[in-house]
């Protein structure tokens, strides 16, 4: 068992899979010689060569399209899109081709590939380096959408993503790369070495897809969240002194509905939290699913804590980011009933 931050854990996952399976290849902008802007692919080209870890032009549609052509031929490409904000030029290839190849060929062929992409705010990246576009992809049938919240899950989920025969869009909350950020920018940064999920096995293991995790058991209210907001919610719950059950969704689609439903049937209250904007966001789907499944168990209207319905504002990073106080306010609201 080693101490790893999320960057090292993701790197370890790809190192293991490149070694274990000769059909695994990596392509993306700056991923080879340079090692990636966040260092996630550092050293992999040196170790596995230019045929396995490829530098691609800044052409996201081309990168994803080429990865599809590789994947339908039995390779297992990992395409890196350098920031989730850069994924839109590849949107057509992801939605019109990747997501539906299996369906439109009635299973004749499919593309087992992973698109890794760093997402989320909290790094003063402004409008085009801070977005959380997961809800755009959860709406597309055929895609598996994953967002880990810690190094242990990041490695195990990435290995599962590479191994599954379905296409995966794998969002990496970049604010969590180096530590479990709890939403308070004024506190000194905390490294992963102080967190239990920073303990990561050196070798192969996997964390199953489509399985949510209860990261804090409780009885008073269910908090459904993922990514950076897992840590923000933990801190908010701790501060409010409420016995909340916190669920880290981990795989957004296909969703582990059972874990959510069982929890809300127990607590009768639910708060949903994500960094992404609110209207038509993934939280709306979570809310609707829980309402449909748990209506007669609910004691209070479901609350959503989200980013505002605006582009990510440079000047108002911490007003936009749904920090602890907004989570606390939602918790108080559901506890009134």
């Amino acid at each position: 068992m080693a101490q790893m931050n999320m960057v090292q854990a993701l790197n370890s996952a790809m190192d293991i899979m490149l070694d274990k399976d000769s059909s695994v290849v990596i392509l993306g902008e700056d991923v080879g010689y340079f090692g990636g802007v966040f260092r996630v692919t550092e050293g992999l080209q040196r170790k596995y060569g230019e045929n396995r870890v490829l530098d691609a032009p800044i052409a996201e549609g081309g990168i994803v399209g080429v990865a599809i052509g590789l994947a339908v031929n039995g390779l297992r490409p990992i395409a890196e899109v350098q920031f989730a904000d850069y994924i839109y030029p590849a949107f057509d290839q992801i939605v019109s081709e990747l997501a539906r190849l299996r369906y439109r060929t009635a299973g004749d062929f499919f593309a087992p590939m992973t698109i890794r992409t760093p997402c989320g705010g909290g790094i003063r990246g402004g409008q085009t380096h801070s977005q959380s576009p997961e809800g755009i992809f959860t709406h597309v049938s055929g895609l598996t959408v994953v967002m880990p919240s810690n190094p242990y899950d990041a490695k195990g989920l990435l290995i599962s993503a590479i191994e599954t025969d379905d296409p995966v869009v794998f969002f990496e909350p970049k604010r969590l790369y180096n530590g479990p950020f709890d939403g308070d920018p004024n506190k000194p940064a905390v490294p992963w070495s102080t967190h239990p999920k920073g303990k990561v096995p050196d070798g192969y293991y996997s964390v199953p897809l489509s399985r949510a995790e209860i990261v804090r058991p409780g009885k008073a209210v269910t908090v459904v969240t993922y990514g950076t907001m897992v840590h923000v919610c933990m801190a908010a719950v701790h501060r409010a002194g409420i016995d909340a059950e916190i669920i880290d969704v981990r795989t957004l689609v296909p969703l582990d509905v059972d874990t959510l439903v069982k929890s809300v049937e127990k607590t009768h209250r639910c708060v949903i939290a994500h960094e992404a904007t609110r209207f038509g966001g993934y939280g709306a789907e979570l809310s609707s699913t829980i309402q449909e499944e748990c209506f007669w168990h609910l004691e209070a209207p479901i609350q959503r804590v989200t980013g505002w319905d605006t582009p990510y504002p440079h000047a108002f990073e911490w007003e936009f980011f749904p920090g602890q106080h907004r989570v606390a306010a939602a918790l108080e609201e559901v506890m009134k009933h």
Binding site: G62, V66, I68, R104
Partner: protein, 339 residues
């Protein structure tokens, strides 16, 4: 600037004379496409095929002249006008009509339809309802060949319209950068949907765009099957030798509308223009050549047409009699495991 492939129509001389067997093979592929499409158009008009069809009639020399060089392991990506590519790649009429009819016996069990018909065994990665969707995927297929050190190639078919899409340019850059065993075949039929080429791009020759990516660009008469055969042969041989991609522009014409079966009386092109191109009907041109070279007499050609027509009638009957897919299959094949 792009190199113009010397057309050989009427000069009776070929640098690399295809064998009689190859000429007859090309001829049969063209005839198969023509009659399949004519019949499909009628079936659509009669309301038997749901949805709209983009017919390949007029462009047969391109599909046949390229595909005769390929094996099933050489993969292609196609376009919304994709029936011709699949037929030339060895597509089976039964399963093709069944797919157009939306039957369970179709290539995609009815889930693809005309614009998304595909078959991995034949190396046909799909017709595509998205203009420009195919080229990046074809480059991935070419890359897989390079990765595995095989001699197979991948061919991306696309139109003059798609050559304005970013996807084409991204694919062209990557193909040349990685020296992929690939061929870009632009079927320039003069129109991007309903807009004449002069109104949608400033270049006259799409092949000129090859220069921007450091690959050869070749212009060829797309109504002349032998010219296409020759130029495609060179490009494919080059790719197999590991010398990288080529952009081959075939100047051609669709005899029918963008969608459907009207040819004349359209408000975006003149009947005179259509008639001019129809005088150079690729099948008639080719049959005249074959007759002159005593490879195929008029009578023998008629026999080929009759055989193909009989096969088509049987295939249409097969499709009509095939069952609809079970509605329970609606939810199948979204993910690898049932939801």
């Amino acid at each position: 600037m792009a190199r113009i492939h010397k057309t050989v129509t009427g000069d009776g001389f070929l640098a690399k004379q295809p064998t009689n067997k190859t000429l007859l093979d090309i001829h049969r592929r063209m005839v198969r496409i023509r009659h399949f499409e004519e019949r499909a158009g009628k079936l659509m008009e009669d309301g038997k095929i749901p949805g709209a069809l983009h017919l390949y009639v007029g462009q047969e020399a391109v599909a046949a002249g390229v595909m005769v060089h390929l094996t099933a392991e050489d993969q292609i990506t196609s376009t919304h006008r994709g029936h011709g590519h699949l037929i030339a790649k060895g597509g089976d009429f039964d399963r093709m009509y069944a797919e157009l009819f939306g039957r369970s016996t179709g290539y995609c069990k009815g889930k693809g339809g005309s614009m998304h018909i595909s078959n991995m065994d034949l190396g046909m990665l799909g017709a595509n309802g998205i203009v420009g969707g195919g080229p990046p995927i074809a480059m991935g297929a070419a890359f897989a060949n390079k990765f595995r050190k095989s001699k197979h190639v991948a061919v991306a078919f696309f139109g003059d319209g798609a050559s304005n899409e970013g996807s084409f340019h991204e694919a062209a850059n990557m193909a040349s950068l990685y020296k992929l065993p690939a061929i870009f075949v632009c079927e320039n039929n003069g129109y991007g949907e309903y807009t004449a080429q002069a109104n949608h791009q400033a270049v006259v020759d799409v092949a000129d765009r090859a220069a921007g990516y450091g690959m050869p660009g070749v212009i060829v008469d797309g109504m002349d099957a032998v010219a296409v055969y020759e130029a495609a042969g060179e490009a494919i041989a080059r790719a197999r030798k590991g010398q990288g991609p080529t952009l081959l522009e075939c100047k051609t014409y669709r005899f029918y509308d963008h969608v459907g079966v009207r040819g004349m009386g359209l408000n975006y092109r003149t009947d005179d223009e259509v008639k001019k191109w129809m005088k150079r009907d690729p099948i008639k041109l080719f049959e005249a050549r074959l007759a002159e070279q005593k490879v195929l007499s008029k009578k023998q050609a008629e026999a080929v047409h009759a055989e193909v027509l009989a096969e088509i009638e049987a295939a249409v009957a097969f499709a009509e009699q095939s069952p609809m897919p079970d509605v329970a299959s609606l939810l199948d094949d979204v993910y690898s495991t049932a939801g």
